[in-house]
Amino acid sequence: MTAYFKEIISGTWSLFVGLGITIVYFFKPVVTLQYPHETLPMTPRYRGHIDLVWDEVRGTNKCIVCNGCMKACPSNCITLAGEKAEGGKGKVLTQYTLDFTKCSLCGLCVEVCPTEALDFSKEYNLAGFDEKDYVFDLLKRLEAKHS
């Protein structure tokens, strides 16, 4: 019998404690961010899709067409092509396509690159209506950014 009343009293008390906690939060300021109106800066290490890096000295990309990224990619989403450089030695990048629909953002390509020609972009607003919008021509993107 005492257990019965004890349970009623402690149970009722626990209910009031709960109400007390929620009403305190009711009057506290909100912690959410109103996303499209406010945004947070992305962290420096944020891993968006990959992007080619601009070489300030040479005024072009840093790629030497070693195909390392293509081989490292687990989902085969990188295709690139190059041709023999005019005059000098080595190769020049002519095409770099990223099929972002397959990419899992693992970053193995960035890691494997010997010349640090690849980097993560900070883009996260990626929504669209067509699958084809996500086959990025990274070379074109780079040129558009630096022209």
Partner: protein
């Protein structure tokens, strides 16, 4: 010449007013609920449509109304369509006899209290028919829950009402309020001269009111993590909308009744400036508490609810009844 009964015009105006009041309340209680839930959870809640998201209910209503009213295959078409109306109409009818202020009452019935409870019990029937008619297993489980829940909770509620009627000696809601005027110490919730357990009685009434209107933590009828949407699982567009409005209308009825029976209706706590504003303040404060409770507690189970009703609420209510009658006899 036209012989139009003035009383009839008054009644029509009142019914229209009540329907408007209920519809507006249903719409804006959704807004209030979302806003309050948001702030309890430290978010803002609706804010995009109109200032403070005030036009959100209109947008929602528009969305619900433009949706196709599908009658799923295999349902009982008559029951399926009639059920939302059966939930909505009794709630509106209850308002006819609820006194908002000294003068603001559509029909001051001598059996007003009885009429409100008569209408309130139809609500369950609507849910049962809708669930049964929609031939969905979740809905049928939900219907079984609603009915037994309501049966279990009408008993303590009515025992409390009987106690109250013994104290006031009338079933007329207007008179019940009039007997409580003159400051908060006259209200039934603090009428210690009748029974020292009156605040407890008020809490029991409030719990039963939550259970009757299927509000959390007793929302087993539409327990979305168990029964998807319970009785409303098959309802599309406005069919669901009417159910939804009916639910909020029932909350308004329940809190109004609690205000009238226990909190002195339109009476001011300090005996000054009585009027409809006090009624509304008390009613909305109670609605705020109802919403506050919903966003605080987890849901009870079915047997937990029956245990609460039969093992705690009914014994306490009966004890209160006996105590009150003894005290009325003695003093």
């Amino acid at each position: 010449m036209f012989f139009i009964d003035a009383e009839l015009i008054r009644l029509l105006a009142f019914v229209l007013g009540v329907i408007g009041f209920v519809a507006l309340n249903a719409a804006y209680l959704v807004w209030l609920e979302r806003k309050e839930a948001g702030h309890i959870q430290r978010r803002i809640g609706p804010k995009e449509v109109g200032p403070f998201g005030l036009l959100q209910p209109l947008a929602d209503a528009l969305k619900l109304m433009t949706k196709n009213l599908i009658t799923p295959d295999g349902v009982d078409p008559i029951l399926f369509k009639i059920a939302p109306i059966l939930v909505m109409v009794p709630a509106i009818m209850s308002f006819v006899t609820l006194p908002f202020s000294d003068t603001l009452v559509a029909r001051n019935l001598d059996v007003g209290l009885l009429a409100v409870f008569a209408f309130a019990s139809i609500n369950v029937l609507g849910l049962l028919l809708g669930a049964w008619g929609s031939r969905n297993k979740y809905a049928v489980i939900s219907a079984a829950r609603v009915v037994s829940q309501n049966v279990a909770y009408e008993i303590p509620m009515l025992v409390i009402i009987v106690t109250l009627v013994m104290i006031t000696g009338t079933l007329n809601l207007h008179e019940i309020v009039t007997l409580q005027t003159g400051g908060f110490w006259h209200w039934n919730v603090l009428k210690f001269s009748a029974s020292p357990l009156m605040p407890v009685a008020f809490i029991i009434f409030f719990i039963c009111m939550l259970a009757e209107t299927n509000r959390a933590p007793f929302d087993m009828a539409e327990a979305e993590s168990e029964l998807v949407a319970g009785a409303f699982t098959e309802y599309p567009g406005m069919g669901f909308g009417v159910f939804f409005m009916g639910e909020y209308a029932n909350i308004v009825v329940g809190t109004s009744l609690a205000t009238i029976l226990f909190l002195g209706g339109w009476d001011c706590p300090l005996g000054l400036f009585p009027g409809v504003h006090w009624f509304l303040i008390k009613m909305y404060a109670l609605i705020f508490v109802v919403i506050w409770i919903r966003w605080t507690y987890p849901r009870t189970t079915f047997y937990g609810l029956l245990n609460l009703s039969w093992k705690i609420l009914i014994p306490v209510a009966f004890f209160n009844l006996i105590l009150t009658s003894a005290m009325l006899k003695v003093f």
